[in-house]
């Protein structure tokens, strides 16, 4: 399926985004007016406010922009996972790494979308 095929309604929703992620695709939105690309579904562009934002498929590989390993987790999570912010193409996305140790600048790729009790998370692993 292409990015647009996941969009059920007028624009990309979190349900659409989650479904694509569970299929192994990372969707985002690109602004027709200013070109900004977001990795988290919106109703309008967070840079310029334009409602002309198209669902796009983001690259599955990227470079770690920042990271931390969570040793005191919220209830429902087991300690010792890494949360990462990753530059993928023109967008920046957030996800997790199960086996901590990736550092800023390392290359990672999406391994899966995972159901948690709070929703679906993008899971990355070192390339």
């Amino acid at each position: 399926m292409t990015a647009e095929e996941y969009v059920v309604g007028d624009r990309l929703t979190y349900d659409d985004w989650q479904e694509a992620l569970l299929d192994g695709l990372l969707l985002g939105q690109e602004c027709q007016d200013c070109g900004y690309t977001t990795g988290a579904p919106k109703a309008a562009c967070p840079r310029c406010g334009s409602r002309g934002i198209d669902a796009v498929e983001l690259p599955l590989e990227g470079e770690v922009h920042s990271e931390t390993t969570i040793q005191v987790p919220p209830s429902g999570f087991e300690r010792g996972y890494q949360v990462v912010v990753v530059d993928v193409g023109d967008a920046r996305v957030t996800g997790r790494v199960d086996d901590p140790g990736v550092e800023i600048g390392d290359d990672v790729e999406l391994s899966e979308g995972r159901e948690t009790e709070s929703g679906v998370a993008a899971v990355f692993e070192r390339v």
């Binding site: 979190y14 990795g39 579904p41 990271e67 931390t68 969570i70 997790r96 800023i104 929703g119």
Partner: protein, 388 residues
Amino acid sequence: MTRASVVGVGMTEFGVHEKRLAELFADAAFPAFDDAGITGDDVDAFYFGNAMSGLSENDTHLAPKIATHIGIPGVPCQRYEDACATSSNAFKNAVEAVEAGVHDVVLVGGVERCTPETGLDTPEMTRVFASASHREYEQPTGLTFPGVFALLTKRHMHEHGTTEEQLAEVAVKNHYHGSLNPRAHFGKETTVEEVLDGPVVADPFRLMDCCPFSDGASAAIVVSDDLADSYSDPVDVTGVGHGTDCVPISDKEQLSATQAARDAADEAYSQAGVSADEVDFVEVHDCFTGAEVLATEALGLFEDGEGGEAAAEGRTRVDGEVPVNPSGGLKAKGHPIGATGTAQITELVEQIRGEAGERQLDDAEVGLAHNLGGDSATTIVSVMEARA
């Protein structure tokens, strides 16, 4: 220019409290009334902050409940929620209300309980705090609030070479300041070695890099400039800036910049007609040591990338060139979420009046408070000055 004046302040000790929310707030509000020389009858409106008690204590619609408990039923009540910037936003709106002539005398303040007195343990309260991160996008990753600020701080370390030792120096300094503050949650000093030996919470943060879960309340009486001279010891509010950035973190332009703080500071400095180098002391939102470093740079006290080194050199101690968090900050004074903003205002007032006891600064004419909420997406910066 004076926008409003604070004529009374009060706060509880921050720490562990058995008292319920309304009872705790009374222990801040009544000292504020007494400090201003007013009674509840004089209060025209109540601007109240509470962030999490709907989740943590099943307690909402708190403003009228608390107004009734403290004897001011019938005044217009409004409750603000902007995560950790909650009572600063209440303060901002109180200042605007008296400035516009909507009200003459406003009670503003906040209360929160975050310790196991709520019945919630650390994982449960960590989950409550994480409700301020993006619901669909960030919460499924297991991101926590130490994690949020770790992501911002790690980026700062990468770009500027800030070190874990420099972060530890922030904790050491704030614990020292807290040891001078009888209302601080932590009254004990610490060392860099002790901070670096602590268990990791979310790297680079160890336990002692993190503020505690605290219970507490704070309150202030805000009046219009015209009325201020009829009170015994007014301190002027000359600027309040309010900045907002994108949520989630991945949509922020630069993780290490805390842009909302920069925007809020520009606005507050401009209103007050003061520049960063004219500020005598600041209270900043040091929920984590790295957050203080980012804040001091965003406020223009130090060049970008120099905040960590400045802390390590002692430039931010009570005896340094620009004292940062003379109260001990969130790190040592404590952080009962909804009470933190007006507790910063309380410290500014007490320092400017010369009533800060052992931690009193020699030169405290112009003070600034920086209170952020969530992942730094909300920041309110207030400038207060001795009344001319």
